[in-house]
Point group: D2
Chain length 302, copies 4
């Protein structure tokens, strides 16, 4: 099975909620336009940043449809369909195919954990088979799921059992494994880099595409980074990476996903609150976040 | 708010699936009769042993109704409503109340993890408020969820914010915390012991009730243990505990939940396969399990 | 090889240091008298509480000699000889035998970690062989060493390879394993309980002896606990355990080992500072510790 | 305080032992000549690869003297002085300065763990002050020590308290932190990259020097990597990195440090056995290692 390679920056969009926490699909269009204007290649919908596991199946379906309607052919839409329940994964996968998504991604099941690569591949194969015409990307996020097999072993086992396997969203620090995956079988899989703060390291090791949350609000910095790297100007690439890393450090200090959503508001795309068990930044934290970002000359919308 | 105290043995039933993996509610009645015949006080439905997180919401609802219909007033039915998605928790909680359950239990959300006791209590409060007339039990399972706050701090924070808080299903090795919870505020909460293999340690520290998977198939051993403990015959209690622990060690060596389901088949209550990402024992493992249990004089049905 | 069984309470003494951090062997005599007066059976010297790994070999030798000189035959002196370097373990073991200790204990090596039970047993066998006339106790402390094999497997492998194996100092929460060790081969090994805060659980599961840091300053509470348990008065045993656990909770909240040393000062046995990387309580923490202990009617010496 | 910057490749030598496990300083000279011939800049002696924590203080002193005698001014000799006991660290540090070492390195204490950056810095400051004329490098190895503070916070706190602080041996996957350390205060510290298998990622993020075990036996591959990177030929750099990573993967599959020592024998520098609790490869493993390396065209000496 052949797919168009997935390259460039893919944003993992924040999901817009109303103040009461209900889904606000109406705000997706402006998010999509922003990504398109920024030259982003795609959107990874309903993933971690999108709080997919905090939405029910019906909401995930509605949000998927919202993104496909808003982006048309202008963004590649990869729908995350992971769940603790295989049947729900399959429901979401089948829907994504019907609705016209570009591909699907799937986390390891996040309650019962597969105890072997074989069990993980077996689970993924059943999910992938529910969307047989779409490329399937395994979403490797060991820091959250606790499922941490070498991905090069996953590829070796999955290549034969998942006909529509297209690659991995690789969100782990194990760059030796990352590099091995990129070289696996002549480099035929897309190993999408998932650590925005060290994208330059990924590029050096051969990354061609990346998925991350900060591509929502500072894609231009990363495009500068990639451009510099490609023309051999490592010093300029490093400077761009440092700038992004400084901003990410501020974000992480202020609370991770909730801080990311607060930054979206600062750049003019208020996505509303996060859902429990996460909690939003308080007014003082928001103000501190704004101040620290201003110090870094981050372009805040006022 | 006042509830009947939850004491004695509460089984966490295995969920019966057809060979194709679909839910087989029809087999619940015989499970319930077995528990009643064994003098078990209640059933904790759709929990870990019941593979609740591997079922979708509609299946969890059907299974809950199956248990309530089968047991009537003869078993106390506690319905586990935990999920990564709060809205699904609330749907399940509201249904449990409508359907006539005795109480609800809830795991920490198992994708995004609360970062403070306050965030955990906040999540639980929203779930508990969807079934305001039922006692609420927090299900503490840090080895799986990774959420591991001292439960005595949870009680201190939750006592005021969750009016229907009734206690904790405490499945952790931290017995100092267990003991502190049992003594909290004059002992007004039910702290249900969740480690069958050391129930005797729990009794010594004051346990009055327990929830576990092995009460499905060897409740008589535990009743002997409890009886001996209550009449002061520690040696006999220890012997009963040793017998249970030996059987549990065999079960764990053969694969945990899947081995437990295989034991159910050996005692005449075949509950079918486990769902991915778990996998069933192969024929050789089943045979090895049977042989080792026979060595221990475990009463197998042939 | 036959040894006298090791039963009753064994204290793990704090090591006295001068204000400049140098070893103050001169204060050992009064520590020993206190333990003897309290009816404690032995002392586990140079262990974790004794900051053994923070002392050099010469200091550990001097301290060992100090304890043996002070206690004579009135306390059983078990010398901890664990180290990251096998040669140092052997030096300390051989010295302990020469100096007249009652036995030796040894942690898993705490830099390079054995990767299998066999490697752990192999290391211990080499240590034990340096003190062939003394009983050898493996010191199981997985929370610190990260070495966490089932101890019942250790016994099975070590029973044949370590002729002077006498048991385990078991400082872990895994009470199922604890119980299995106690029952191993007819109960021929001493499995010394290492969690003071739940000693009652250990007794229920068959513990005959225990090693801990709080037996330095509140042995009478534990003797009351044990006495009540032995005469079948579980309620009184539970009350004594609760009292000890409340005091331990205060100690842990104030900083573990350093707080333990501060409590020693409060009861009239000032052992001086802790060594880096630990740090002593500040004046405010000491005052808070004193106040909280007074609330619990802990007998402070003024 | 000003030091010559530490750049280029620094090998972490394996320590030669006789077949009976005793130290074989006589073999150091040939190791040193090999490193010099390979253009390696320095040696990090008595570290993890050198099994420093498995040697006693006297052995570490003798080995240090052996390296200084063998290398003269031709290699920069950094002596690892870390220990669980501060006094031993200081003894080793003072000796290193007296003996003419180029610098010292120190792990976090590996039994009691510092609970704050302040406690870690406090410990390091006392060690560094025992060799005040030598540059001090903190050795960050969280996967083994369990001590894992952000190193950029360590630098911020240590810069003022450790006058001879010169940098960090950074052996962690957290490349965002790595990058932040490299940029700290204008880049005035040497942040030595410690993951040979992804050195290229380190170079991209600004690494100027690296310390690792595989520079003992395949420095030429890494020099090719660095050369290619410096002239902007990323493809060639990536190919060299891939070659090194493939060899490292074989080594790791065969047992880590013991396999590294077996590779040394294969290239003609037999360093003898490893010390317990590690164990040497058996004959079959050695043969498998040799075969797999030959497949990769690794230059084995026959």
């Amino acid at each position: 099975m052949k797919y168009q390679r997935l390259t460039g920056l893919v944003a993992a969009p924040f999901t817009p909620f109303h103040q009461d926490g209900s889904l606000d699909v109406g705000r997706v269009a402006e998010q999509a336009e922003r990504l398109i204007a920024d030259g982003v290649a795609g959107a990874f919908v309903c993933g971690t940043t999108g709080e997919g596991p905090s939405m029910n199946v019906e909401e995930r379906i509605r949000l998927t449809e919202g993104w496909i309607a808003a982006a048309g052919a202008r963004l590649r839409i990869i729908v995350h369909v992971g769940h603790s329940c295989l049947a729900d994964c399959q429901t979401l996968a089948a829907h994504a195919q019907r609705a016209g998504a570009t591909g699907i991604g799937c986390l390891a099941p996040y309650f019962f954990k597969p105890r072997s690569v074989g069990d993980l591949v077996g689970f993924c194969a059943k999910v992938a088979s529910a969307a047989p015409d779409l490329p399937f990307y395994y979403y490797h996020l060991p820091s959250v799921t606790g499922v941490n097999f070498p991905m090069v072993e996953f590829l070796a086992a999955a290549a034969e059992r998942i006909p529509n396997l297209a690659g991995i969203k690789f969100t782990s620090e194990d760059l030796m494994d990352y590099s091995a995956c990129g070289r696996f079988d002549g480099g035929r899989f897309d190993i999408l880099f998932g650590r925005d703060e060290i994208l330059l390291a990924g590029l050096a090791l051969g990354a061609k595409g990346a998925i991350g949350s900060t591509y929502n609000y500072m894609a231009p910095i990363y495009h500068a980074l990639i451009g510099a790297f490609e023309r051999g100007d490592i010093a300029a690439a490093r400077a761009a990476q440092a700038r992004a890393a400084d901003i990410i450090a501020v974000m992480l200090r202020h609370g991770g996903l909730a801080a990311g959503k607060a930054i979206m508001a600062l750049v003019g795309f208020d996505c509303g609150p996060v859902r429990p068990p996460l909690h939003d930044l308080g007014p003082e934290q928001r103000e501190s976040l704004r101040r620290e970002l201003e110090t870094l000359a981050f372009p805040i919308q006022s």
